[in-house]
Symmetry: C2
Subunit: 459 residues, 2 copies
C-alpha cells in the first residue's frame, strides 16, 4: 500500500508541475482526504495554495482538517475572508476548536470572525474545558431525539439533520431539560419491526456516559472497552453537551501511548512527529532529564570515592560494577514499565499495591537466584579459568553473586513501588520509568556491593 | 466511574450470595456486556455457571465474548451441547474464530461441532490466515450490495440481513465475481434524495482496502488515519472476503503499543494482563534479556580489567564511570525510543535514514556540548572545591567532559541507526531499545573514556 501511494504521489506532483490542473483535479476528487493531505506535506510552500484551490469545497475542508499545522496556517494566511468562511463553514465543531487552539492569536481572530455565531459559541464552549478532558475533544454536533418520537419520525429527523452531524449512527434521547435519558442506534431504528413504535420503547436507558471533565484517556479506554462508536458527554447538571467519536478516541490512544513511551525514555512529551521536529525542539525535550540524571549520578560517584581503598585492595571488584548496575537497571525498568503500562490501561488500581509487591518479590527471587547461580558459574569458568584472571577468588565471585541477587530484588521492588507511589500522588507514573529508576538502582547496587565486599572480604 | 462500578459490583455479588436471582437478573439485563464480564472476573469459579445461566440468550453470548479466557473455558466445559450451541450461534464469526484459536483441542472440537456448517466454514477460513494478519482478525459478516440495486432496495436488504452483521453502517458493493467495486454508507443511503437512485451512482468507487495478508498493525493505522468504521479485506484475486471493524482495530493498537513498550524494556511480549500473569510467567518473559545482557556485560568487565593499571594510577577516574555510562545509556535510549515509535506509527520510512542520522548528529552535538560544559563546572565546583576531592585535577575534569561529549554523540548515533537497521532486516525495531543499546553504549563509553585518559593523562 505505502509504495503504491508514493508512486501516485510522484505522478500527481509531476502533473502539478506540468500545470495539468484539470487532470489533476479529476484524480484528486477520487482520493481520500487523508491521502490528499499527505500530498500537501511533501509540497513546497509556494504550491500549497495553488493545489488547495483545485479541490471542490467540501473535499477542501475535509482535506484541510487532516493537514499538518504549518500548512494550515500558511493557507489561512493566504485565504481571502470569503475563502476562509467557506472552509470554516464545512468544519465540524471539534475540528474548528482544535484549529483555534493551535493557531496564533491573529489567525484565531480571523477564524472566529468567519464562523457563524452558532459555531463561534460552540467553539468557545469547547475551549472552556481543560486540555485533555472529554469536554475539550468532544463535538457538539450529534443527533438528539425525544422519547415520544416514533421510529419513523426519528428516521425522518436523521435524514433532515444528518448532513451536519459527525456521526448519525448513535442517536441520543434527551428530555425537555436536555438531560440524557436514553440511546438508540440507527441499526435499532432500521431493524425495528414497526415504524410507529415510540423511541421510548426501544431505547437503551442505562446509558454509559462521560462528563466534560473526564480525562480523555479514560474516555478512549471506555470507548474501546464498550466498543462504542461514540461516547455521550454530559455536564455537571447531567445535561447532554456533546459526544466523543471513536476516531478521536483512536487518536487519543495513539497520542497517550506515544507520550508514555517518551516519558519512559526520559523525554518530555512532544506532540510533533519526529521528522517535523527541529533539532532544537528535540534538544529541548531531551536535555532536562539528561541534565538531572547526570547530576544525580554524583551520588554514585561519591559512593565509589568513599570505597576507593577497598577497590584499590581488590582490583577485580571494579570490573563487575557495570554488570551489577546494568542488570539492576534492567530489572528495575522491567518492573516499572510493566506496572506503568498496567496502570495506564486501567488494569491496576492503587489498592492492588500489596498484590503487586508480593508478585514482584517472588518474581525477583526467581530471577535473582537464577541470574546469581548462572553468573557464579560464568565468572568462574570464563573470567577465572578461560581468561585467567587470577585476582578473581572464590570469595570475590561469591560477593558479586550475592550482591547481584540482592540488587535484583531491590531493583524490582523500587521499580514496582515508585510508579504506584507516583499514581497515588496524582503524578504521571510514566515519569518513574527506566532512567529515573536506573539512577536510584545504580546507587543502591553499589551500596549493596560494597556492603557485601566489606562483610565477606573484610575490606 | 470506576468507583461507582465497584459499588454496583459489590451489590450484585451480595444479591448472588443471598440467592435473589430474579432481582439480580433484572439489574443484569440493564448492564453493558463488558461490565457484566468484569463481574465474572471477580467471581469464584463455582458461581460462574450459576450467574451466567441467569442471563438471557443474546446478552449471555455478548457477555461471553468479553470474558477472560479462563472463565470462558470453565463455562464451555460445564455447558450441555445445547447450551454451547446457543452461545456459539449468537457469536460473530471473528469472535468465534478467536475463541477456537485460544481453547485447548478438546474444547475446540466441541465448539466446531456445535457451529452450523456455514459458520464452521467461515471459522476455518479465518484460522487459515497468519497470526497478526488482517485475515486473522477480520469478520466475514458484512452487508454486501450490488451496483444496480436502488437505494430503497439497499435499505430493505440491510433491514433483512442486518441483525447478523457486525456493522451495517458501511456496506460494500461487489460485482458478480464478488470483486469489491465500491462502498456506500448508511448515511449516504439515508440522506439520498431519491429512493430510486441506483447504488452505482452514489457509491464511492476508489475504495481503500487491505488484503488478507496485510499486517494487523497496518490495518489499525489505516483505520485510524482514514477514520473508517471498518476496513474491507480482499483476497489475492481482489475478491471481498471480510471486514476489520474499528473496535478490533482499537484492541490491536492497544496490544501493539503494549508489545512495543514491553520489548523496549527488555521483556518478551505477553498477552496476559499483569495481575493475571503468574510469577513464573513474569519470570519467563523477563529472564531471557536479563541473562543475555548480563553476559554481554562481560565485555565492559574486560575493558575495565585491561585498564586496571590506569585506574589504579588515577583513582579519581573510577568515580565517573557510572555517570558516563548512565548518561550515554540515557542518550541512546532517547534516540532509539523516538525512532522506534516513529517507525511503528509509520511516520518514518527506511529511506529517511540519512535525514534521521543528520538530525541526531546535530541534536547530539547540542546535548553533548551543553552536558559537557555544565558537567565541567559541576565537577570543579562541587566535587573538587566543595567536597575537596584533591585527586580531581583540571586534566581529569577535561578527560571526563571530552569523553562525555563524544559518548553522547556515539550513543545517539547507535540509538538512531540500530532500530532502522533492524527494520531493514525485517526485525522488530523495538528489540533495539534501551537495554540492548545501553549494553553497547556501556562498552563504547568506557573505550572512549580510557582513550581520552590515555591521550590526555598519558596513562
Amino acid at each position: 500500500m505505502a509504495e503504491r501511494f508514493e508512486i501516485v504521489e510522484k505522478a500527481l506532483l509531476s502533473l502539478l508541475n506540468d500545470k495539468k490542473y484539470s487532470t489533476l483535479r479529476d484524480i484528486l476528487i477520487t482520493m481520500n482526504p487523508s491521502d490528499i493531505a499527505a500530498l500537501f506535506d511533501s509540497l513546497e510552500d509556494a504550491k500549497i495554495p495553488l493545489l488547495f484551490r483545485l479541490l471542490p469545497k467540501e473535499l477542501a475542508a475535509e482535506t484541510f482538517v487532516e493537514m499538518e499545522i504549518d500548512a494550515q496556517e500558511l493557507l489561512i494566511r493566504g485565504f481571502s475572508d470569503n475563502e476562509l468562511k467557506e472552509v470554516v463553514d464545512e468544519l465540524y465543531v471539534d475540528d474548528a476548536a482544535a484549529l483555534v487552539e493551535e493557531m496564533p492569536a491573529n489567525v484565531v481572530k480571523r477564524i472566529l470572525k468567519s464562523a457563524d455565531p452558532e459555531m463561534r459559541f460552540a467553539i468557545n464552549q469547547i475551549l472552556r474545558y481543560d486540555e485533555n478532558s472529554a469536554g475539550s475533544i468532544m463535538t457538539t454536533e450529534y443527533v438528539s431525539l425525544r422519547p415520544q418520537m416514533t421510529v419513523e419520525e426519528a428516521i425522518l429527523r436523521i435524514r433532515r439533520q444528518g448532513v451536519d452531524k459527525e456521526t448519525i449512527y448513535t442517536c441520543y434521547v434527551t428530555d425537555s431539560q436536555r438531560r440524557l435519558v436514553g440511546m438508540v442506534t440507527v441499526k435499532d431504528l432500521l431493524l425495528a419491526e414497526d415504524d410507529e413504535t415510540p423511541i421510548r420503547d426501544i431505547m437503551l436507558t442505562n446509558v454509559i456516559f462521560a462528563t466534560t471533565s473526564t480525562d480523555q484517556e479514560e474516555v478512549a479506554q471506555m470507548l474501546s472497552k464498550y466498543n462504542f462508536l461514540a461516547m455521550p458527554v454530559v455536564d455537571a447538571e447531567s445535561r447532554m453537551v456533546g459526544i466523543v467519536t471513536f476516531d478521536d478516541a483512536m487518536d487519543v490512544m495513539e497520542d497517550e501511548a506515544t507520550e508514555d513511551i517518551e516519558m519512559m525514555a526520559g523525554m518530555t512529551p512532544s506532540e510533533k512527529p519526529y521528522l517535523k521536529s527541529s533539532v532544537f525542539e528535540l534538544f529541548k525535550h531531551r536535555i532536562p532529564w539528561l541534565m538531572l540524571l547526570m547530576v544525580t549520578s554524583t551520588f554514585t560517584g561519591l559512593i565509589i570515592t568513599s570505597f576507593e581503598d577497598a577497590l584499590a585492595a581488590q582490583v577485580a571488584l571494579t570490573a563487575f560494577i557495570p554488570m551489577l548496575m546494568g542488570t539492576g537497571g534492567n530489572c528495575g525498568s522491567q518492573s516499572s514499565v510493566s506496572i506503568i503500562r498496567a496502570l495506564s490501561l486501567g488494569e491496576l488500581k492503587l489498592n492492588d499495591i500489596l498484590r503487586v509487591v508480593w508478585k514482584e518479590i517472588r518474581t525477583a527471587v526467581l530471577c535473582g537466584v537464577v541470574l546469581a547461580v548462572f553468573n557464579f558459574g560464568k565468572i568462574w569458568l570464563i573470567d577465572r579459568i578461560m581468561l585467567g584472571n587470577e585476582s578473581i577468588t572464590l570469595m570475590v565471585d561469591l560477593v558479586v553473586c550475592c550482591s547481584l541477587a540482592v540488587t535484583v530484588l531491590l531493583a524490582k521492588l523500587v521499580g514496582a513501588v515508585l510508579p504506584i507511589g507516583a499514581q497515588a500522588l496524582k503524578l504521571d507514573p510514566a515519569v518513574m520509568a527506566s532512567p529515573f529508576i536506573t539512577s536510584i538502582v545504580d546507587a543502591v547496587s553499589l551500596l549493596v556491593y560494597f556492603m557485601f565486599a566489606n562483610l565477606m572480604l573484610g575490606l
